[in-house]
Amino acid sequence: MSGNSTYNPSNGFTRWLDERLPIMRLGHDTAVSYPVPKNLNYWWTFGGILTFMLVAQIITGVVLAMHYVPTTALAFASVEHIMRDVNYGWVLRYTHANGASMFFIAVYIHMFRGLYYGSYKAPREILWILGCLIYLLMMATAFFGYVLPWGQMSFWGATVITNLFGAIPLVGQSVATWLWGGFAIGDPTINRFFSLHYLFPFLIFGVVILHIWALHVTGQNNPAGVEVKNKEQDTVPFTPYATVKDAFGLSVFLIMFAYFVFYAPNSLGDVENYTQANSLKTPLHIVPEWYLLPFYAILRAVPSKLGGVILMFGAIAILFVLPWLDTSKVRSARFRPLYKQFFWLFLVVCLVLGWCGGQMPDNVLFSVGGVDIIVTHLARVLTFYYFFHFIVLFPLLGLIERPKPLPESIAASVLGGKTAAAKA
């Protein structure tokens, strides 16, 4: 895809095929000869891990759909049927449910890696935007999927999220009714969510192909953040170098995945979802799955319903324009002493926002001079910082920061690292 193909058909058949459908050439150029910067670290293996997770989720999902029944009367029972009666049904369902969490762990690491090393900057803006689109589609898919088991949290989570659309002025209530296909979440809703939950992963798959295409046009960013200058010295062929490294990274990731599936399969879920949905009884504490908690915290931090919805979607929307908010010419935080500190601060802010999202909003954190500071107050400060980080710091830091000197080339950065390590 990156231009100069080095594919050389080895026999008559592959030569014949290559002239008609150069699919072997495509595979060779994408996954064998494609040059990768030789200084990539293990944070770069998460792209491969994410591809694996997408395929694993699609396969287990297709198989679960063979047994699942999308009606309010039978959804919960059909999931129990999968867990109790279907051959290996419990493995498939636990893999799929925990797989969603693993998918998000991997995507967050992938995104923060991009933020740290400045992977969103020119010429990789489209690559980054496609990634944001994938993330958005993932959240929608996860939301639809979470409704399907028809437990209490499925029902009430869906109720809360769809009611967000009611905040839209004038047409809000009509939009909510349209989403439900009725006057509340019910049979039409679960059936259409099932349909969309089946469709969206294939949309993701399509955007992933574009994402990889864009990646192979610009080439990968790397920890040094300098572009490839000399292909011989700066890069190694994808196979075997990146292949084996990605495979090792994936195998370590799978150990963690397997731990959750086999030894803590319900630890990332909510106990309420093992009670069948009851439209007359709301659980005491409604929380989304962990990967949506930071956004849930932003939603609840704002006193106005519409304002909360706008900020919550704004928190995702702002990611799309990062390439144009950042004014720094330097990519990697390795050479940006100021940005590096704010990066870690931002990571902590996101984690604490997530924690806030899982707490009762009125919980008192501490009291200052008789004034109670509650979770909502903390969430407001953090929400402010979230936007401040992107809107103010991103343009500002590029102007005031004095970056460290960049290495001359990728090869030089590898050698530099080696000599530094040798000294130590």
Partner: protein
């Protein structure tokens, strides 16, 4: 890279093959649950055999029950029907079987001649034949005109074999277990 191949080509190739093979074993094992989930599950297998009280079926009548999703005919034959089935010269049959070969013994070890148990699916293309219809007063398949006698044997029409006798046994004089 080139010199590496020159120095230790076999070790490196062995590494590729061993790693790839070990990964392939895992992938192969992971495929099994994906295949096995389509096999009959525990709730289906629980229904694989049924017990049936046939004491209430009067002579000269037949009931249809569902077994493994298929109709099963339980026919309480009259003496005339038994005699008609016995009288057939099996060398004339398309699928030669005596009536006795198609029956089961009761708990006392004696053949229960009056009970005929059949899977109610025409051996031609899977339609359900009609009882007490056709030339031999056995079964008649409305789809393509196969005619069966009072032992469920094929006598006329396109069906290749006799109606299938399901695996069953007499638990007591009036109770059978199918499957």
């Amino acid at each position: 890279m080139a010199d590496i191949h020159a120095v230790e080509p076999t070790r490196r190739d062995f590494l590729y093959v061993a790693t790839g093979a070990f990964a392939a074993i895992g992938a192969g094992a992971a495929v099994w649950p994906l295949i096995d989930q389509m096999n009959p599950d525990a709730s289906v297998l629980a229904l694989a055999s049924i017990e049936l009280d046939i004491g209430a079926v009067p002579v000269g009548q037949e009931i249809t029950v569902k077994w493994r999703g298929k109709p099963v005919f339980v026919r309480h034959r009259t003496e005339a029907e038994v005699a008609a089935a016995d009288a057939v010269d099996i060398t004339e049959l398309k699928d030669p079987q005596t009536d006795d070969q198609r029956l089961m013994a009761g708990p006392d070890g004696k053949l229960e001649k009056q009970w005929l148990i059949l899977v109610g699916i025409c051996t031609h293309l899977g339609c359900v034949p009609l009882a007490y219809k056709g030339e031999y007063d056995g079964y008649f398949c409305p789809c393509h005109g196969s005619v069966y006698d009072t032992s469920g044997r094929i006598r006329k029409g396109p069906a290749p074999t006799n109606l299938e006798v399901p695996p069953y046994q007499f638990v007591s004089d009036t109770k059978i277990k199918i499957g």
